[in-house]
């Protein structure tokens, strides 16, 4: 019995909405980055959870190909994600995609980032660190670029999800962490000048410059 056209169209709609879901996940990851802070950001926390889901949504189709190798047929609609025969479903998909791109990402995210800048000032006024709010604002403003970066890491194979996660790790370790090392060094200097413990930040700064080596050290211990 052939799959009903409506069902095929629903599958197409969901697959076509996956990139929008990835974008929304990135926005939510930005909020979690503020909530969890930066130095207390935990693997398995909200930020990593939303980043993981962004990667999953982005690599949904290659991920589905695993079911075929398990022996479970996943008959994607012909041309999917693409042609949606049912008119109102096609309109629904286009409207949701446009809403996410034009309303959420283009207009709402910059405004929220601006609120985070204000929040940073208020954080400083209340004796907290302004850096988490500033970094969250930067992450939100860079949502589109981060999305493009994730897309460029998508290999389109069965292993696309882990390939993207691998590449993200390399990007984090090779690009972001050396910059974070400078910020840790600045923190160490400020702590020294104000007579607070600073050696921990010196060790952290060196560790941030040698994350790959520490990973290799861990591997060699196993």
């Amino acid at each position: 019995m052939p799959t009903p056209q409506l069902l095929n169209d629903v599958i197409s709609v969901l697959l076509l909405l996956a990139p929008s879901a990835a974008l929304l996940s990135l926005v939510l990851a930005g909020f979690s980055l503020r909530r969890e802070g930066t130095m207390t950001f935990a693997i398995g926390g909200g930020f990593t959870k939303w980043m993981f889901w962004a990667v999953v949504f982005l690599t949904l189709q290659p991920l589905l190909s695993w079911f075929t190798s398990f022996g479970v047929a996943v008959p994607l609609p012909s041309g999917a994600p693409g042609g949606i025969a049912t008119g109102w479903l096609a309109n629904f998909q286009a409207d949701v995609s446009q809403f996410v791109t034009n309303f959420v990402v283009q207009r709402m995210v910059p405004t929220l980032a601006a609120f985070f800048v204000l929040r940073a000032i208020l954080d400083a006024a209340s004796g907290q660190h302004p850096l988490p709010s500033i970094l969250a604002a930067m992450f939100l403003l860079g949502t589109q670029t981060t999305y493009s970066l994730l897309q460029s890491y998508n290999t389109g194979t069965q292993y696309a999800t882990v390939d993207v996660l691998d590449s993200l790790w390399n990007h984090l370790v090779g690009t972001i962490m050396p910059i974070a090392a400078v910020l840790a060094l600045v923190g160490a200097i400020l702590n020294f000048a104000t007579r607070k413990p600073f050696l921990r930040l010196v060790a952290v700064s060196l560790a941030l410059l040698t994350v790959s080596a520490i990973w290799k050290l861990l591997l060699s211990m196993m």
Partner: protein, 155 residues
């Protein structure tokens, strides 16, 4: 607003540059002011003074740390240990001899200006500090020798 040109990497990089090259040199002046005020009240002012110097050297210290962290290939498991060892060597063999010279100068000031030669005045502390600064490696070898002598345990 062109969000397509804004990336998190560039944002955090420019933040680090701004903090290191604009804010920290400005804070250096603030720490020098604090050091002067602390000095006037007879309080300990070295942290503020050296902190002000460090604020002016963020780029240089970053390059130094990059050098410490480049003592082996990026995938060498010993790289973190090597970077720590290089940092400690740098402090012991470069910074401490300079500090020793400053202690000798402080001793000379104590002897010649601040107080007459007297066993209880502070000149001896500056002299011993200068000597110790120049003997870090020797002290470490001495401690290692003592520990090595005791490996057999108490009999």
């Amino acid at each position: 607003m062109n969000l397509g040109n804004m990336s998190f990497d560039q944002g955090i990089l420019h933040l680090a540059n701004w903090v290191g090259n604009v804010i920290m040199p400005t804070l250096a002046a603030a720490f020098i002011i604090i050091a002067i005020l602390q000095f006037s009240k007879g309080q300990e002012f070295a942290h503020s003074m050296y902190g002000a110097l460090a604020c002016l050297m963020v780029s240089g210290l970053t390059r130094a740390f990059e050098t410490f962290a480049s003592q082996a290939a990026w995938n060498n498991p010993d790289l973190y240990w090597l970077s720590l060892v290089t940092l400690i060597n740098w402090v012991a063999n470069v910074i401490l001899p300079v500090y020793a010279a400053s202690q000798v100068a402080a001793m000379a000031l104590r002897l010649g200006v601040f107080s007459p030669v007297h066993p209880t005045s502070g000149w001896l502390r500056h002299f011993v500090t200068a000597a110790l600064c120049l003997m870090v490696s020797g002290l470490l070898r001495l401690a290692e020798f003592f520990v090595a002598q005791g490996t057999a345990g108490v009999t």
